[in-house]
């Protein structure tokens, strides 16, 4: 058991660390950088965290400064007793804070996409067969409706709000979208060298909960395209859709007519949408 003096010392240290965590989250919120790490639906909860964190720090500080020595006891949760143990414990907690404050916030890019492997089709879609946009089962109804809307456009726009759903709908009925014109923006992804193929793709990360589950989604650019831009540049691609065989699987490709560099968007990732068809209607001017 620790003496009351050392318990006070531990409490002060812990209060400082808790406050630092609260400050770091506040800093992320203020810089509007929380979306680099977690999806918006989770960010709501993280924004609330500084409240309990600072209350905890306050009550620890209160015990450390004003607490009666007899009431200070680490009987249930043992505090580390050796100097080594304490410094190991607290440096572990300082590590995320240091990383967070010292290094700039950056979105995931090509390097991460290469490790995770670029996904070229959204969900498990058995390629659509019918002549019209009919859903094979109720779960595809939303995609069928969206595909019908997309088909009527002279140039298919890919809105970031429904990025993954749009790609999913295109993939489901890929044979019918053959030759249609499309306009899509994302970061330029280059297949890693030595993989036996040197293709380009326009891609975005789909985030469900946090960056741990980020999945890179994209459309391949046809092999002949001459691209001088470096990887990770944000680009807008316009071109025609074609179905080709990529590693033995029928895949949509864009034969680009124009590739222009654009400014990076304020939210680099895309998120899933519960009702893509309704979102499409809202996005129409």
């Amino acid at each position: 058991m620790n003496s009351s003096g050392s318990i006070r010392f531990h409490y002060v240290l812990r209060a400082v660390i808790l406050l630092a965590f609260a400050l770091y989250i506040g800093h992320l919120v203020q810089q509007d950088a929380l979306h680099y790490y977690v999806a918006p639906k989770l960010a709501r909860w993280i924004r609330l965290c500084p409240v309990p964190l600072s209350l905890m720090a306050l009550s620890l500080g209160l015990q450390a400064v004003l607490g009666r020595s007899s009431a200070l006891c680490d009987c249930e949760h043992r505090l580390p007793r050796s100097l080594l143990g304490s410094s190991a414990l607290y440096s572990l907690f300082l590590l995320p804070l240091l990383l967070g404050f010292l290094l700039p916030d950056r979105a995931l890019g090509s390097a991460a996409a290469a490790k995770k492997g670029l996904a070229l089709s959204y969900t498990a879609v058995e390629s659509g067969t019918g002549a019209s946009f009919t859903a094979a089962n109720p779960y595809e109804a939303e995609f069928a409706e969206l595909a019908g809307q997309l088909y009527r456009q002279p140039v298919i726009p890919v809105f970031p709000e429904i990025f993954s759903e749009t790609l999913g709908a295109l993939n489901l009925y890929k044979s019918q979208f053959e030759g249609k014109e499309i306009s899509v923006s994302g970061f330029l992804y280059r297949e890693p060298q030595g993989a036996g193929r040197s293709g380009y793709a326009v891609s975005r990360f789909l985030v469900q909960c946090c960056t741990a589950d980020a999945t890179p989604f994209g459309i391949l650019l046809a092999p002949g395209a001459q691209i001088s831009l470096p990887a990770d540049t944000w680009i807008e691609v316009r071109g025609k859709l074609h179905v080709t065989l990529h590693e033995g699987v029928e895949t949509l490709q864009i034969a680009p007519q124009s590739i222009t560099a654009v400014a990076a968007p304020s939210t680099p990732y895309v998120y899933t949408n519960a009702d893509a068809a309704a979102a499409w209607k809202e996005l129409q001017p």
């Binding site: 009431a71 492997g117 960056t211």
Partner: protein, 329 residues
């Protein structure tokens, strides 16, 4: 007895100051080392997982402290059915009421056990809670739009695995496998003497739990972020080419990636064309029950022998269950 006085930290401050000076002299010349894709990816993945888990850990710690301060001992044990089978069903249903991510689970379960929840019910709750809840069911259905049967099977298999392990533990484990750090008797004296009364007591306990669990969480996040940054998933998937290899590979991946149970279905769906659906099922059932950060937290809660026994049971049950389920799918 060693004491920890502020004076003893002085030598540590010297070395810290030295490292700081050396670092600040050395760094400007080598900034390019920090400025590459790996560091960025590592930082983004590490803080992403940590921030994601933070609200759940705080919630779990807070619930646990509220239980400790306000709920009298043995009250919980009165609610739990006496006989094994209804008690196991109760443990599974508890997950529907508390849709907590697995990271918030451990402090809560620890306190519930302290208040008289039997071991096997607690294990069933730990295993089924992160999967058997409406949020995860919805997320799985969305990810597998064209294969809704995978979502049903996931729920069913999670229930079966949790119930089986609960029964096995009920039958085989007699002595409490809890680590000594939570003693059952004597430590539950009222903390009215703390400054600030009961509210302050709740907050002090919450922060104790936070630091207790936080260290395992941070180590788990570090390992996971390292794996995410340096492991090449597509080249590894070649291992999974053989029929049973794919099960082992997907289970290993679930353990290493430490995804949240609400989002792993999505990652699994990107493997649909590469692996049989039984292997995806194994991925989605094992991940929430057992992964890096979870395993470390379980090791802090239980004695090592029991924890290893539990890991073995989980892996074996999920493997058998998903192979059996694949015949039906």
């Amino acid at each position: 007895m060693t004491t920890f006085t502020p004076f003893k930290i002085l030598p540590l401050l010297f070395s810290a100051a030295f490292l700081l000076t050396a670092g600040s002299l050395w760094l400007p010349g080598h900034l390019s080392l920090l400025d590459n894709g790996y560091v960025d990816t590592f930082k983004t993945a590490f803080l992403g997982i940590l921030l994601e888990a933070l609200p759940f850990v705080l919630l779990g710690a807070l619930l646990s402290s509220l239980l400790r301060v306000f709920v009298p001992d043995e009250l919980i044990s009165r609610w739990i059915p006496r006989r094994a089978v209804p008690a196991i069903l109760f443990g599974c249903l508890l997950g529907i009421l508390f849709p907590v991510c697995e990271c918030g689970m451990i402090p809560l379960v620890r306190r519930l056990m302290h208040k008289g929840m039997p071991l096997y019910v607690a294990i069933v709750f730990i295993l089924s809670g992160p999967i058997l809840n409406p949020v995860v069911y919805g997320a799985t259905l969305t990810a597998f739009r064209s294969h809704p049967e995978l979502a049903y099977t996931r729920m069913g298999l999670a229930f079966a695995v949790a119930a089986c392990i609960g029964l096995i533990i009920y039958g085989t484990v007699r002595r409490s496998p809890l680590r000594l750090s939570i003693r059952r008797e004597g430590s539950e004296e009222p903390h009215g003497t703390l400054r600030g009364g009961r509210a302050a007591a709740v907050l002090v306990h919450t922060s104790d739990e936070f630091f207790e669990m936080g260290k395992f969480l941070i180590i788990g996040c570090l390992l996971t972020a390292g794996i995410q940054t340096f492991m090449n998933q597509s080249s590894l998937s070649a291992i999974g080419d053989r029929p049973l290899g794919s099960y082992v590979f997907m289970m290993g991946l679930a353990f290493a990636l430490s995804l949240c149970s609400t989002s792993d279905a999505f990652v699994a769906s990107t493997f649909l064309h590469t692996f049989p659906s039984g292997a995806l099922l194994a991925f989605m059932v094992l991940g929430p029950m057992l992964d890096f950060k979870n395993a470390l937290m379980l090791l802090s809660l239980f004695k090592t022998r029991f924890a290893l026994y539990l890991f073995f049971l989980i892996a074996a049950a999920v493997f058998t269950g998903s192979v059996l389920a694949s015949f039906w799918l």
